[in-house]
Structure formats: C-alpha cells, structure tokens
Subunit: 193 residues, 2 copies
C-alpha cells in the first residue's frame, strides 16, 4: 500500500525519506467495509479520500431515490466540495467494495503543508488536473445520449461495469435500471443481427 501511494506522489513531486516517514506517521490508511457510509447528507464534510484499493461512490437521495453522480476507484481523489464553504453536505458517500482508503482531514493537511511546501504544490497541480478532467467529463455527458454514455464507459472504464451494481450504474448514466437492461439488449441485438 505504501508503495502505491509513493509511486503516485512521485509523478508530481519527489520526496525524501524524512518526508515519507512524516506522511506515514499520520496514520492515514484505513480499511473500510463494503456498504459503509463515509458521509451522510446533512453532515459537514471534514475528510478527503484517496482510493488505494476498492471503489467509493457519491450519490444524492432525491424523492426517495438514489442518484449516483460519481465513482472513485484506484488512485482517484475525492475532496467533498462543500469543504470549502463549510455548508452541510447535500449528498452521500459510500463504499461500493471493501476498500483501502487514505483519509485526511483539514488539520492533517495544514500540518503537512506547513512542514513540506511540496505538498501544497502537488495539491495545486492535482486540483488543476481535476478541474480539467471534470470539464471534459461534463462536456462528454452533456453532448451524448444514455446509449453513447454507456458505450463510452465501456471504453474508458470497463472495470466499473463489472464491479458496480447495475442500478447504480444506471443512475450514473442518467437512466433507470430497466432502461439500462433494454439499452444493453439493444446493443447486443445490433452487434449480433
């Protein structure tokens, strides 16, 4: 697990042994069971998550229905956006699979940033990358139909289709589970006959 983390960081900044040890001393690693809810609607989100292994999910509860808006898998970082304005969350975060997460809170970030300015640099770069990815994903979603979104997902994140329940995948694509079933049948139909 340590290696996964340090390999990831090394893409952005290089760390000394001291810095690595300082990071490890913070007790960042957490094992989380499938189904665990990390953040509930109404709570003030204090923590950021980095996925080392497994999958976590963001969803809203609207008219009694879950609406999934994002999945985070290996090497994805999730900083709840309400952290900034400190308003209570209007969504949930939960664990799709048994996962190993790196969990940090604001205090830890202040501590590590003050000791090692490198981390701030890395965070800035990461947040710019995130913004770019976000914009590209948003544009792709807006400019395509549910079927195109599904085919796109099949290309870009084929693992998700295997590891995530269909009804969560459906709402991520902006449709109902029944429609996803139909849509899949339609695609198979096209390719077979």
């Amino acid at each position: 697990m340590k290696n996964i983390l340090f390999d990831f960081i090394s893409k952005y900044v290089s760390l000394t042994e001291d810095e690595k040890n300082a990071l490890l001393s913070l007790d960042l690693f957490h094992s989380v069971k499938k189904g665990t809810v990390l953040l509930k609607e109404g709570q003030k989100s204090q923590e950021s998550y980095f996925v080392l292994k497994g999958c976590i999910r963001v969803y809203y509860m609207i008219d009694g229905e879950e609406k999934t808006t994002a999945f985070y898998t290996e090497l994805d970082a999730l900083t709840p956006h309400r952290v900034l304005d400190n308003a209570p969350s209007d969504y949930f975060i939960s664990c799709v699979e048994d996962s190993i997460l790196l969990v940090s809170n604001a205090d830890m970030e202040v501590e590590i940033n003050s000791k090692f300015p490198k981390f701030e640099t890395m965070c800035r770069i990461l947040s710019e990358e995130l913004l770019t990815k976000q914009q590209i994903d948003f544009d792709a979603f807006k400019t395509s139909s549910p079927e195109q979104r599904y085919l796109n997902l099949l290309q870009k994140r084929p693992d998700l289709i295997q590891r995530v329940p269909q009804h969560q995948l459906a709402s991520y694509l902006g449709i109902k589970p029944q429609s996803l079933s139909r849509l899949r049948a339609r695609i198979i139909e096209k390719n077979t006959g």
Copy 2:
C-alpha cells in the same frame, strides 16, 4: 469598465495603485462583435477570457450540429481547459452578443504573476471556486430531467433565457429546439390550468 474589474478583484485581494496601473498597462480590454469566433476547433487555445459585459458561449460541433455546453456572462471567467496539456481544442468559443472582454495569454499571466504574487493567490482561489461550482452544476445536471433543468435555469439565470437564442439554450439543456418549445408549452399549460 476599469471599475467593474477592480471591484471584482477587490473581493479576493487588495491592490495598490501601482498594481492597478501595471494591470491597465497590459492592454487587456477588448471589444468583440456578436458572432465573432474566439476559438475554433483544432486551434491551440492560448487565451483566457473574463467577461466584463456581454455573453460568450462554448460549443462542440458533433455530426454537423452545434452542442452548447456553457455560457459565460458578466464576471464569469473562461480558461480553456486544453491550455494545460496544450492539445488542440475540440470545441469552439463564440460571442453571443457584442461584448467587452478581458483577454489574457500565458505570457501576460507569467509577467503579472512574477511582479505581483497576489495574483497567483487570487487565481488559486478562483480555480478552487470554479471547481466547486463546476461540481455542483454537473451534479445538478445529472440528477435532473430537461424540464427540471429549464425550471432551474429560470430560477438561477433568468437573463440567459432572454438573451440567448432558443436553439442554443435547447442544446445547453441537452435537447432539440422543438423539444424546448414543447416543454415550455407544457409548463404554461400546467400553470394556466
């Protein structure tokens, strides 16, 4: 115009007269006619835009159809995301109305940032704000139907509905102009009885 800019900046950092003059000496202000295309698909985008007056629009050309993904109006900032990885743009930016824009390029930003570190601070805060807004908008889009999106737009940006052509608005909502007409008729029907 100058005042609009400095009032905006003062929300983030306070500037000395020297700094204000340095900014003004850069010749940032540009008047742009309605219909002008600021960036074409295939070009490498070098410029960032800040809208002082008017409205600009981002759109993709897919199968010969324009798909509008964003409108930027007074006090909105648009930094084309491909700037970061320097790949050619896959979208267009054009002027919806006669507008007054603040246009900057990478060279200017380097110059002003090196002279006045305050600007870098402001840019970091702005980019965090932008990421948060983006995430909220994306979630709202994903979790709602075209009709809900239209009603939401009516609440949040009623001016857009007046100043933007319906067919651009329609593609922004993810539907065809005919469907937007129908949708509007349906809403009026409901409210009338």
